[in-house]
């Protein structure tokens, strides 16, 4: 209950800061433009998914760290109250992740509703995008939180790591995968490649999007490994499991840091 009241306070604070409104507006404008100019087909959904894969990790990580730094005095004030640290942590985290997720959901969901996408495209694709977006928001806010707590005294370092971390996961990691493919392409590397993709949450989300929207192209690949993996329940459950690990581990680590921290 106490966690909830902290969450509520943060909620108000965030909205007073207007920043979160701007974040939601970005999604609203982009989704609106995509659907308006791309038509109400799956093309628009795909473009929205692309933006989501780009923006959510970046904003989640940086803002996750930044918010901890910004609300340092507030945190210290609350620590003086008779609250246990666990409650405080979940209050702070939920107070950031929930508004971010809501901003995304509303920003993307509103244009979909008023353009009637729920009628013209498959509900499954829409739900997939909304669920994936919310999951990524929570996941990367958690990562940002962890970085923020890890480098609590050194803000530049914390933010730097958040930025570089995003760059690594979004671009450099895929570059390494591509390099591996071209160096070792003559060997049967499909399985290691799948394992590599599982290690990166952005890739995981991207492949899930591919499975929904680009299955024709994926089926054009000659190897049976991908087809078997993607087509099976096993593939989907392994992917979901990996996302859960990515969700759980940073949060668990940052809670431990938060518990032990001498503010």
């Amino acid at each position: 209950m106490k966690a909830l009241s902290i969450l509520k306070y943060q909620w108000k604070d965030l909205f007073r800061g207007k920043w979160i409104i701007g974040y939601g507006l970005i999604y609203l404008l982009m989704a609106d433009a995509m659907i308006r100019f791309g038509g109400t087909g799956s093309k628009a959904l795909l473009s929205i998914a692309n933006i989501m894969l780009l923006l959510i990790p970046l904003v989640g990580m940086i803002y996750g760290a930044l918010y901890l730094y910004q609300s340092r005095e507030f945190t210290e004030l609350l620590l003086a109250q008779p609250l246990d640290r666990k409650t405080l942590f979940w209050g702070l985290f939920g107070g950031l992740a929930a508004p971010l997720a809501l901003a995304f959901t509303l920003g993307v969901g509103l244009p979909m509703t008023y353009f009637g996408l729920f009628v013209s495209t498959s509900i499954r694709s829409i739900i997939l995008i909304l669920v994936l977006g919310n999951l990524l928001t929570v996941l990367f806010t958690g990562l940002g939180f962890w970085l923020g707590l890890r480098f609590f005294e050194d803000r530049i370092k914390g933010l730097g790591f958040a930025l570089v971390g995003w760059l690594f996961l979004a671009v450099i990691y895929d570059g390494l995968v591509l390099l591996a493919i071209f160096l070792l392409g003559d060997y049967p590397i499909e399985e290691p490649m799948l394992a590599m993709a599982m290690l990166n949450p952005i890739d995981l989300a991207r492949i899930t999007v591919l499975l929904e929207f680009d299955i024709q192209a994926l089926m054009g690949y000659t190897g049976a490994v991908f087809n078997r993996f993607f087509g099976s329940m096993m593939g989907i459950s392994v992917a979901a499991g990996c996302l859960m690990i990515w969700l759980g581990v940073p949060l668990w680590r940052s809670m431990r840091l938060f518990n032990k921290k001498d503010f």
């Binding site: 894969l53 192209a217 089926m219 054009g220 000659t222």
Partner: protein, 414 residues
């Protein structure tokens, strides 16, 4: 003498008229005096009509060796019980209507068919239903046949144990119209056919190709639908084909193509819709063709154009939401792309004449990477790939410079 000749002519005419007027009708029915179709055929004279009453006839190798019309009344089922051919037509001017033909036998040595038409002229097969035959309708060395409104299904699982739905070999001027074929090896199969017209057919869920078309010059196929076949459609080694207004859809797989063209020359491919295929159109060693007004929508690859194809013209086509619009295997391309609409086009139109001011390069760098290392397909829609594509677009190093649409359209071509 002249009068005599006239009289003689008149008599001949009368005799002919009399004969036609005399064309009898023989009736076969399960409990009538003639209860087998074979018996019925023996009883008929050339030009007669054989009427088959409702019922099931367990017969095979029924030889139709004189001109006649065979019509089923009600639900007529001819069951070959897997003993060989069911109906074999060897005479000219035979018409077969309204019957169901079942269970021709399966063999690795002989091409058993539900209806075999061999060395005939003017055969008409209309409104028949073929169920679970090895081959469905098999035409060999025949001309002027009409195959219309037939419903041909089989439940083949393996290529070797299944024959083709409608199989044409060395035939001429055949019309194949409004048929439905499902579950055979190839839905329609053409080899050494000249001047056939294939229209309004639906061929789906066949094990290999929806239509398999080889060495068949001067043919024309239009308004057919080929859906969800193992390998899509293959058109090979042919000149002067007209492929108009067909639909190729839902062909998925590593070697599944909406349509595969191999060694096709001087042909027209116009107004077709390629939707939801792994590869919409695969083109190899194909020269001097015109591809106009086609729509490529939501395919993995819109067109895969192999470098050994030259002098093809692609104009007024729509490329909508394909993962790859065009891919190729060389930096050289001697084909012309002009005046198409590309949904991936990112240029602008300052003078507002409907044509983009910057040329469009439909071959992405990534499609070349995938061509070289297919595994990299897993990186589709990665930010890294988008960055690489953008860099390549500004300064092309690996993508073919000549494969370019210099007049990309700003709006979809109707």
């Amino acid at each position: 003498m002249r009068a005599n000749k006239k009289i003689l002519g008149l008599i001949t005419l009368f005799v002919m008229l009399w004969q036609t007027g005399l064309a009898r009708q023989v009736t076969v029915s399960p409990n009538g005096p003639i209860d087998s179709i074979k018996q019925g055929i023996i009883e008929t004279n050339p030009g007669d009509t054989l009427l088959i009453k409702e019922g099931t006839y367990r017969e095979y190798d029924i030889r139709v060796d004189k001109p006649m019309t065979i019509i089923g009344e009600g639900k007529v089922v001819i069951d070959g019980e897997r003993q060989g051919f069911v109906i074999v037509i060897t005479a000219d001017n035979v018409t077969l209507k309204n019957v169901t033909v079942k269970h021709a036998s399966t063999s690795f040595m002989e091409d058993y068919a539900g209806i075999l038409i061999k060395e005939t002229d003017n055969t008409v097969i209309e409104n028949t239903t073929l169920v679970d035959n090895f081959f469905g309708i098999y035409l060999a060395q025949s001309s002027n046949a009409l195959i219309k409104n037939n419903h041909i299904t089989a439940s083949g699982e393996r290529e070797t144990k299944s024959g083709n739905g409608i199989h044409l070999w060395y035939s001429k001027d055949v019309t194949i119209q409004d048929n439905y074929v499902k579950g055979h090896r190839d839905g329609l199969y053409f080899e050494f056919v000249e001047g056939a017209s294939i229209s309004g057919n639906l061929s789906e869920e066949n094990i290999r190709y929806g239509i398999h078309f080889m060495y068949s010059d001067n043919c024309r196929y239009e308004e057919n639908t080929f859906r969800n076949n193992g390998g899509g459609v293959a058109v090979m080694y042919t000149e002067n084909v007209k492929i108009l207004n067909n639909r190729f859809e839902d062909n998925w797989g590593a070697s599944a193509y909406g349509m595969l063209l191999k060694e096709i020359n001087r042909s027209r491919i116009e107004g077709n819709l390629f939707i939801n295929n792994s590869v919409g159109l695969y083109i190899e060693s194909t020269n001097n063709n015109e591809f106009t007004s086609n729509t490529f929508k939501q395919n993995g690859w819109g067109i895969e154009l192999m470098a050994n194809s030259t002098d093809n013209l692609f104009t007024n086509n729509n490329f909508l939401d394909n993962a790859f619009e065009v891919s190729t295997n060389s930096r050289q391309s001697f084909n012309e792309f002009n005046h198409n609409y590309w949904s991936q086009y990112e240029g602008y139109d300052l003078d507002r004449d409907g044509t983009g001011d910057v040329p469009h390069h439909p071959v992405r760098l990534f499609s070349i990477l995938v061509e070289k290392q297919p595994q990299s397909l897993l990186l589709l829609r990665s930010l890294l790939i988008d960055i690489l594509d953008a860099a390549e677009k500004i300064m092309p190093v690996l993508t073919p410079e000549t494969l370019v649409d210099s007049e990309p359209q700003m709006t979809k071509i109707p």
